[in-house]
């Protein structure tokens, strides 16, 4: 796979673009937010994406998927990003779905994944316990009790947690917070006794949730990966989810960039188009360069996963380091160049600004990933 879209991917992109243009303009996301919709996204639209085969892109045909890769999923996620579609790719496919795919045994995959692919099952992953991303900072405990485990602790930032059917919970079976060893992953039913799910509204209009787990019982057969070595699955899931998130981010900041470019060409002050001012021309030209570099690096990370290269972690951190650096730059300049109107809730550029901030900080910001990149590169 090269750095440009293949013929098939170009066709997929055109399909996705017309799908989202027609069914999901940015106003739809705004309406869901303003009405404080009970679900927070459209279950019907999600099922349509299931019928089109997009939800199942990553999953094997044996569970109803399309058995394709991040090159294809990235195309769809990029178009989601362009219109800020809040459908649950992150919670259900990239995090929850990937955890089952990479860590689940065959019965568990057969049980859960077909409904995921059709859009009838929502999943999430509960790992985070504090604000700043730190993948192994997990205190939630799981104690073994015969053939099952009981989990006690608190989780935050569980995406779409309030509507998830199952939540994959990362908990500590050994060791202490911060250690990579001693983590395990459990598939927990949303209605399990002892689990309470509190919906939280996020700054980008999407849905998080915080969970309280009090002696929640989980069958030992619903462990993903190996007990105490859950981080092996978790790391692989994070790499893949991060690369997916980057694809969405590229779509969002390209759209924010293009809208800003258009604004510079139309908005007049002092009797001239503001795009004639060199102070603005140089800045937007530099943003363009940032954007092009980032797009190349993100595409390369997708290829790394799809070709099973041995530098997936490096390529992932390179992509997210760049995305998380460039996203606030472009989004910040987009608001600035829109001037006063950019501060209004009515102007859509602010919605991009907020979504890009959420994405920037999710799964590790630029500093986190530059550090990880440097570590992996041996310095």
């Amino acid at each position: 796979m090269g750095l440009i879209l293949t013929e098939d991917q170009l066709i997929l992109r055109d399909m996705a673009k017309s799908f989202f243009d027609e069914k999901s303009p940015v106003e739809r996301m705004r309406a869901l937010r303003d009405s404080r919709d009970a679900v927070g996204f459209s279950r019907d639209l999600w099922k349509e994406m299931g019928e089109l085969g997009w939800i199942g892109i990553l999953f094997p045909e044996s569970v109803g998927g399309a058995d394709m890769g991040y090159g294809e999923l990235g195309v769809v996620l990029g178009e989601c990003g362009r219109v800020l579609a809040p459908e649950p790719f992150m919670s259900t496919v990239l995090l929850g779905g990937n955890a089952i795919l990479l860590g689940g045994n065959e019965p568990l995959q057969k049980e859960l994944l077909p409904d995921v692919c059709s859009g009838n099952r929502i999943l999430s992953l509960a790992f985070q316990e504090r604000g700043r991303f730190a993948p192994y900072a997990i205190e939630t405990k799981a104690k073994r009790d015969g053939d099952h485990y009981t989990i006690t602790g608190r989780k935050s930032f569980v995406l779409d947690g309030h509507v998830a059917d199952q939540i994959v919970v990362a908990a500590r079976t050994a060791g202490s917070s911060g250690e990579r060893e001693g983590l395990s992953l459990f598939v927990v039913e949303a209605d399990a006794p002892g689990l309470t799910i509190h919906r939280d509204d996020l700054v980008d209009g999407r849905n998080g949730a915080h969970l309280v787990l009090e002696n929640v019982a989980v069958d030992g057969a619903r462990v993903l990966g190996t007990v105490d070595a859950g981080a092996d699955v978790l790391d692989a899931v994070f790499n893949r989810a991060t690369v997916g998130l980057c694809a969405e981010m590229v779509g969002s900041f390209e759209e924010a960039f293009e809208r800003t470019l258009e604004y510079l060409k139309t908005r007049e002050q002092f009797g001239v188009k503001i795009g004639t001012f060199q102070a603005l021309r140089h800045r937007i030209a530099n943003l363009f360069a940032e954007m092009e570099f980032t797009r190349s690096i993100v595409r390369d990370a997708q290829t790394a996963i799809d070709e099973g290269r041995n530098d997936i972690a490096e390529a992932t951190s390179a992509a997210k380091a760049r995305c998380s650096e460039v996203a606030p730059l472009i989004a910040g300049e987009a608001v600035q160049m829109h001037g006063g109107i950019g501060m209004t809730d009515e102007e859509e550029i602010g919605l991009f600004f907020k979504r890009l901030k959420a994405a920037e900080l999710s799964l590790g910001d630029a500093i986190f990933h530059r550090n990880r990149f440097a570590h992996l590169r041996g310095y």
Binding site: G2, L3, I4, L5, L10, L261, L264, K265, K273, G275, T276, Q278, R281, H282, I284, A285, N286, F288, A289, E292, F293, T294, R295, S296, I297, R299, D300, A318, A321, R322, I367, R370, N371, F373, A374, H375, R377, G378, Y379
Partner: protein, 388 residues
């Protein structure tokens, strides 16, 4: 060419490289390479037609198609073969192929491909830097010759060059872009004086060139009379592509990578992490920038080959490349501290002195070939199409 044939060709090139490139030279394009070996290698490149692989054989080229030429480039890069890249090959050649007459191609291209004639580029003038089109050097027709009067500056290698490709004003009354022509003439003649300039890095590769009645054959005017500006811009594009496309830039020419240097100067802790987290950040950013440039150039190549809507990224590449190589030397200086402040003397390692000079040399990279500010103007106007 089919994929199978292309693979066969790759094997052929590999074998040829193995037979002709000694291991001492597999260290990139550096100034301190053994002269005799280098000259043998250059001769081998010339006789195999690999100095200008894509030119027709009748012009001294290798007669390869784009994919084959790509294979040659990849294979040479893979073993860090020193490059024989001259102004003639990189800039004048492509320009003549596009705009030259048949006679001009036959006269000049084979000499360039055989590296027999050294060229320099007469563009900038004291009063025409970023505003290149305001150049004043005059060429007046006299019989079948032009008589050239004026001054050029920042002319690389002018003191060693045999010929110059030069922008001259042939119609002083026309609007500034419309009275310029592209003229070739010999440097070794009365009426041409070269005076090297000493730069902040201690080098004197650039010169001022004075023309006082220098002579050029009228048949050596390239393209239409007064149509030189289009050619000039096209040639600058070749120049920018060369820079942006040259992976690693100045780093490739040094013994130590910036990563080796920083590790050595700053030191690693027990866990293998650089002692200074801020320099570590800067280094990671530098590496990501190198990665971004390399991948973006490769992507542009793929876009071109697949005839997808490519974007003009020559200016973008030049601009980011310049910042990147400057930043690399800034990091080196930061890491070396006082050891980076040596000009000469035993108190400093050869590699430290080399880095310090590189820090000074690379200041020029965001100035020549169009300053960063000019590149940003070009991106805004031509790529993003924002009306002025």
């Amino acid at each position: 060419m089919s994929t199978a044939n292309l693979e066969e060709f790759r094997q052929e090139i590999r074998t040829w490289i193995d037979e002709n490139l000694p291991s001492e030279l597999r260290v990139g394009t550096r100034k301190d390479l053994p002269k005799k070996l280098l000259s043998q290698w250059n001769k081998a490149l010339i006789s195999r037609g690999l100095v200008a692989p894509e030119w027709d054989t009748e012009y001294g080229g290798g007669g390869l198609d784009r994919k084959q030429a790509g294979v040659v480039k990849e294979e040479l890069n893979a073993v860090r073969a020193p490059k024989l890249r001259t102004f003639g090959v990189a800039m004048l050649g492509p320009t003549l192929l596009e705009f030259g007459t048949e006679e001009q191609k036959r006269e000049f291209l084979p000499q360039i491909a055989r590296n027999e004639v050294t060229w320099c580029q007469g563009y900038s003038e004291p009063g025409a830097g970023s505003d290149l089109a305001s150049l004043q050097t005059r060429a007046v027709r006299e019989g079948d010759e032009y008589i050239v009067t004026g001054q050029k500056i920042w002319t690389t290698g002018a003191d060693k060059a045999d010929w110059i490709f030069c922008l001259v004003r042939t119609d002083p009354d026309a609007p500034k872009h419309e009275g310029i022509s592209f003229l070739l003439f010999p440097m070794k003649q009365e009426g041409v004086k070269v005076s090297p300039l000493n730069l902040i890095d201690g080098s004197a590769d650039f010169s001022q060139v004075f023309f006082d009645g220098a002579r050029a054959k009228a048949s050596h005017l390239v393209g239409p009379l007064n149509g030189g500006w289009t050619i000039a811009k096209r040639l600058l594009q070749h120049e920018r592509t060369q820079d942006g496309g040259s992976e690693g830039g100045i780093t490739g020419a040094m013994k130590d990578t910036i990563f080796d240097l920083v590790k050595r100067e700053v030191g690693l802790d027990a866990s293998g992490t650089l002692q200074d987290p801020t320099i570590r950040e800067r280094l990671a950013q530098q590496e990501l920038e190198q990665l971004g440039l390399r991948l973006t150039m490769r992507r542009a190549g793929e876009e071109m080959r697949a005839s997808q809507t490519g974007r003009d990224i020559a200016s973008l590449g030049k601009y980011r490349w310049a910042n990147m190589v400057k930043d690399e030397q800034d990091i080196a200086m930061m890491a070396m501290g006082a050891q980076g402040l040596g000009w000469s003397g035993d108190g400093f390692g050869a590699d430290q002195l080399e880095r310090t000079r590189a820090w000074l040399t690379t200041r020029a990279d965001s100035i020549w070939g169009g300053t960063n500010e000019v590149q940003l103007n070009v991106i805004a106007k031509r790529v993003l199409k924002i009306p002025e």
